[in-house]
Symmetry: C2
Subunit: 502 residues, 2 copies
């Protein structure tokens, strides 16, 4: 259950325990800070990070050492960093027994909040018939604000429960319910990008779910931008994002207007690219003059350093280069690409070309709103990709290179996503001056007799098991391959506690 918004503002706090993050992609690194203290100030900004702190857990000494709940070690660190102990509201200790650690919150670079009710429903469709059969009818219901409130409340709560501290949402074509989604993100305290979906093309969008004109689409986009900026002028938590659904759903007039708007208002952009071969053929037919799918977006000034392109399964080399040249990013959505039979995004190739890559859950093409699941699937499909490439003549070494390691997948889920969203100086890893977007992860320690504890504890502890001899790297791997929302015990955004199941 989310705490009420009244829990902020707060005073200084310190977070204590083991801190793990993936600050570097090359070489892929799981960085572990043990016996560490992170000081977070009143604005939710990290003021200091100290590791290998002495006497950190010496609570047993009762003769005055644990004044204000802080041990001597904690107080020493606070003073050393120029803070006063009396200003520290609390010390939040996570997993000092080796069963848990602090990890950066996840950054979901692509999901559809409106599609939550269809999670797990896609039959045997692929993209274009999936849109017609499942998605457009569902999204059209968001003209109702009460329906929107029900779905969006749950969507934001669900992603937060899974450790997602930043989320790039597609809403629907309805500006009022899109505004509501932004309000709910602010209320529940999730960092978010909220986009009203633009789709005005009569040839590809159904009558019952289409905007009237390019002008109408632009005006309602502007209305959402204004609404969000009226509530969060600097975009400290929630930002508007220009969201043409994908090239085929928009008229050229609309694409041009949205490109201009993004430029005029310095707005980020999100859309889809090269997910499915039928879609690619359609784009080629509709925009023959643009040369390629990426070329369409480039033609309308939608390929910018603040653009996030979802999927990118079937890009040509020239498109990869164009995307890299423009500084745009790719949201890799492995579960969705598997479920809809789209194929496998060649992440290694994108990284080799210097393209920014993050992960997306892409609910409801993807059947899970968990970035941890997305990281797991990214690892899995990268192992199958070698088998594809082998059929195309790749060498054993090239096949091996396709594999994404645990460190790489978690990088994509955190700092990689932050880079896609232009937030890499704020979130995605633990550095002084960055904001405290973090989750407390805990795994179960299997008792000596091997049996489960009582029912209550069992329900909350999840299915990841530690047997006592795992290294930190192995614990992280077990979490990535087996964990779920039960392992995410606390979630903080910008210093605010937004989820607590401890």
């Amino acid at each position: 259950m989310s705490p009420s918004p009244s829990s902020s503002p707060f005073r200084k706090r310190i977070f204590v325990g083991t801190f793990i993050h993936t600050p570097i992609l090359s070489p892929p690194t799981i960085s572990v800070l043990e016996n560490a203290v992170v000081g977070v100030d009143e604005r939710g900004v990290i003021g200091f990070i100290e590791e290998q702190v002495q006497e950190l857990y010496d609570w047993d000494n009762e003769d005055g050492d644990s004044v204000d709940g802080l041990t001597k070690g904690m107080r020493n660190v606070v003073v050393k960093n120029g803070w006063e102990v009396k200003d520290v509201e609390e010390a939040v200790v996570g997993g000092y027994d080796g069963s848990g650690w602090w990890f950066p919150g996840f950054v979901d670079t692509h999901t559809h909040a409106s599609q939550l009710p269809n999670t797990g429903l896609f039959g045997t469709t692929t993209l274009l018939d999936w849109l017609e059969t499942y998605t457009f009818p569902l999204e059209s219901r968001f003209s109702s604000l009460s329906h929107a409130r029900r779905v969006y409340s749950r969507a934001v709560t669900s992603t937060i429960c899974h450790g997602t501290t930043t989320c790039a949402y597609y809403a629907t074509i309805h500006p009022e319910s899109t505004n509501l989604l932004a309000d709910i993100c602010m209320e529940k305290g999730q960092r978010a990008f909220v986009g009203k979906v633009c789709m005005d093309c009569k040839d590809t969008c159904p009558d019952y779910y289409r905007e009237e004109s390019a002008e109408a689409s632009l005006e309602s986009t502007k209305a959402v931008v204004q609404h969000i900026r009226s509530k969060d002028p600097k975009g400290e938590l929630v930002q508007p994002i220009v969201t043409p659904r994908f090239a085929p759903s928009c008229t050229k007039a609309s694409l041009a207007a949205l490109g201009q708007l993004a430029e005029d208002e310095s707005l980020p952009i999100q859309t889809h690219i090269s997910e499915n071969k039928g879609e690619i053929a359609l784009v080629k037919q509709m925009f023959p003059e643009c040369g390629s799918y990426a070329g369409v977006y480039d033609s309308f000034h939608l390929l910018t350093p603040r653009t996030v392109l979802a999927h990118a399964v079937h890009l040509h080399d020239a498109e990869v280069k164009l995307i890299q040249d423009r500084g745009s990013a790719v949201s890799h959505c492995p579960l969705s690409n598997t479920s809809l039979g789209s194929g496998i995004c060649p992440v290694r190739k994108l990284l080799d070309h210097g393209v920014k890559v993050g992960l997306g859950t892409d609910v409801s093409g993807g059947g899970s709103c968990s970035l941890l699941t997305a990281a797991r699937e990214a690892s899995g499909v990268s192992r199958l990709l070698g088998n594809f490439e082998e059929l195309k003549g790749a060498s054993a070494r090239d096949m091996e290179r396709m594999k994404l390691s645990v460190a790489e997948c978690l990088y994509l889920a955190t700092k990689g996503g932050a880079e896609c969203m232009g937030l890499e100086k704020k979130v995605g890893s633990f550095e002084v001056g960055m904001e405290w977007d973090a989750q407390l992860v805990r795994l179960e320690s299997v008792p000596e007799d091997g049996d489960k504890d009582g029912e209550g504890e069992q329900a909350n502890e999840g299915i990841v098991q530690c047997w006592g001899n795992e290294s930190w790297e192995e614990k992280v791997a077990k979490w990535m391959y087996c964990g779920d929302d039960r392992n995410t015990r606390k979630v903080y955004v910008k210093g605010r506690l937004v989820h607590d199941r401890s």
Copy 2:
């Protein structure tokens, strides 16, 4: 938490609610019995099944209709089927509000109980280096009975919690701890096949984890057979299974002796086949005279109607035909095949050829002991398989045919697995005369305001959400694509309650 064994024997009971199963593969069918009652007798055998029962939930009538906890509708059904109401111990009602249903227990046709502590650990290895790096060191520890007790207790509890009512286990080369695994299955009430692993080849097995000779391997296999049969003479719950690890781990003398033993003692057999290209090359080098990998097993009389072959990713057509001719079965382990980069098993091709196919979790090559996860992964990789086949020149229609539907994946997880294990007349679907191996599934209904309920309930309810307008087929799909152990509220084997988190 498992109930104590003293909860059996029991009297007659009736189970009430919606019953869903997948009794037919062609055409794939999700069969839904609503307002139904299943009578289970003292032996755990289904005595009758009645659907569309009138006045089934009429508890409100307080004037004598609900004597002994049974409504008038229930009592009518009991009497109609020749039972006396006084003989019925209880009515177990599952999900009459539409949020749940009874489903057959899962049949896991391939897993390694001993490898549980390595769940989620495999780095970027493939089969042969994975065995050396992760698996053999782990399995060698099972010379310790206390270690074995800790791991096997948890392994059996874990699979039961995930709804697995029948499990085909590989233990290790140690007969005493293998016997212990069988004892734990009997104690916790899980239907199981328990195999001591045979590996005596000096060229491929490490010194620290190898049996002394073919004779020693045979003798310890016999000792395990005798132990299990001494406790369960008719194999009503637990059966021994002959388990040569895979062809390369065994000498020809050992393979020959195990084939003979299986024939003499009418024993089932489990082993691995064609998982990885390096492994296949090794088999070809070690057994050049056998013509193929399947040919090796056939040469030693190990390809029988009671043989289960795990993986079968890279079989040649002639091998598929040989396996079908011999009536042997394939255990499809999609998560393991993805994790170790083995490839994708062509399930549709096997089914087209009439080969029996079930699902295996293959812990710890696979990172989950859940057959629900295996079903989900089977669906996923079948969608990617079309992309592979396309590269080999398959038509769009052929690609489309590769996809496994929800009904097919759940068939593989239940009745398909039962067929693999020779249990199709006992378990895997709901029929009169079959045994009551079942799980009660429940999904959450999202409240009107969209918010989560209190913390306690949240912890237990899982992440699958119903919004109120889903058909039964859609609920089943949501469960398969999004569900986990939290949705399995009760588990019964042979009429005995072995897990309860309701």
